[in-house]
Symmetry: C2
Subunit: 208 residues, 2 copies
DNA sequence: TTCACTTACGAGACTCGTAACGATC
DNA sequence: GATCGTTACGAGTCTCGTAAGTGAA
């Protein structure tokens, strides 16, 4: 079944004439005629009494309401997706870790708001764990967090790597770790550290 | 939009795999792939994340429920019409004038019930006017009445001539009208007659 | 290498508009 | 004769399965 056949059928049913239907669909009468015929042969049923004035048969009568709903559903789906693509989604909720909110997001958001002025933006700064939870709960549309191997195996969300970032250690000038150009993890574990509290990606990273 | 494209989309969305979808639809994977691509290009939106495991995009998520309903609607329409054609209409209500009920219907009904044993028949004997009224009210599916020119111009019902029937005049052997081979209408009007009461086609015929 | 999706290709089917045809008024 | 639906025809498009290509694990 092709949608145009259904539209042709609807047009004929509603105008009561193949010619008028053809005008409405922007095609030739012969095309409308053939489209309706295709439909009829697919359903194996005559849909119209082709007398002087076109009238629906019983089968046509059965098809009419369903054809209407199918046409509407498709149109609605088309429109919604077109709106989605055009960025007319009414609201976009973003959660991101504090560092991203502070340094990365401002310029991006400015550009985004310029490109899609219709979209209401909502931005929240959250720790990685909490951000993932609200994403899973559907409270936000996207989150920007530190990479976490458990994410990539999760089946119900889509993960995309934005950029790589070196993790740096801040210490006193006479600290023993200054001997390293690149501090190994096991060396790091031998000294007391100041890190984020539980629920933050960095904390999880160091802990592991 | 073609229905098969929508079915392919649904199959992929529900099985999570193009291959499984192809098996379900009874076609090649490449066909499923192309059908989904057609849909995507028509909607101008990507419907699936084609990573290791197939996941719906936001657009795909929007389409899914509508696609389901369209598919169901079409299937239901198909089934209903097929049932209709197979004569599985649960009930057929017929109204006919008394003469037809007495002489014509019995053999026809017997044949019909043999051909379509699933159909519940309801037959009512009514005068022409009353029969037309119950037809218009949707209380019966078809009526068999005497021809009436006002019927053929009526827009909301379909009229089909079944057969022609001579109208005969019954009179005493010594009645003046016996002189005619065919009694003219204006001669008939000059004598008192016994006819049906109001609301019967014959009465209307004579009156006019 | 395997597995899964995409793409290239050629055969066949489909669809369209034009135009001829048929029926009805 | 005018109007309206159907049918024939040829050009162009689409769709399919097969088979080769591509990318990830």
């Amino acid at each position: 079944m092709r949608l145009e056949q259904l539209e042709a059928f609807l047009a004929v049913a509603e105008t009561g004439s193949f010619q008028a239907a053809a005008r409405r669909c922007g095609v030739t009468q012969s095309t409308v005629s053939r489209q309706v015929q295709s439909l009829e042969s697919e359903l194996d049923a005559v849909l119209f009494h082709r007398t002087t004035q076109i009238k629906l048969t019983v089968a046509g009568d059965v098809l009419l309401p369903r054809a209407r709903r199918i046409s509407q559903d498709w149109q609605q789906a088309t429109n919604e997706i077109a709106d989605l693509m055009a960025g007319k989604q009414p609201e976009l909720c973003v959660a991101a870790i504090h560092s991203v909110c502070a340094y990365l997001l401002p310029t991006v958001l400015q550009q985004f708001c310029q490109d899609y002025p219709q979209v209401q933006m909502r931005v929240t700064a959250l720790g990685s764990d909490r951000a993932l939870k609200v994403l899973r709960d559907g409270l936000v549309d996207i989150v920007i967090v530190m990479d976490n191997p458990r994410l990539t195996i999760s089946t119900d969300m889509h993960v995309q790597t934005l950029y790589e970032e070196p993790v740096e250690v801040l210490m006193a000038a006479d600290h023993p770790l200054t001997q390293f150009e690149i501090v190994p993890w096991d060396a790091l574990t031998r000294y007391p550290q100041v890190v984020f509290k539980d629920g933050y990606g960095m904390q999880r990273l160091v802990q592991e």
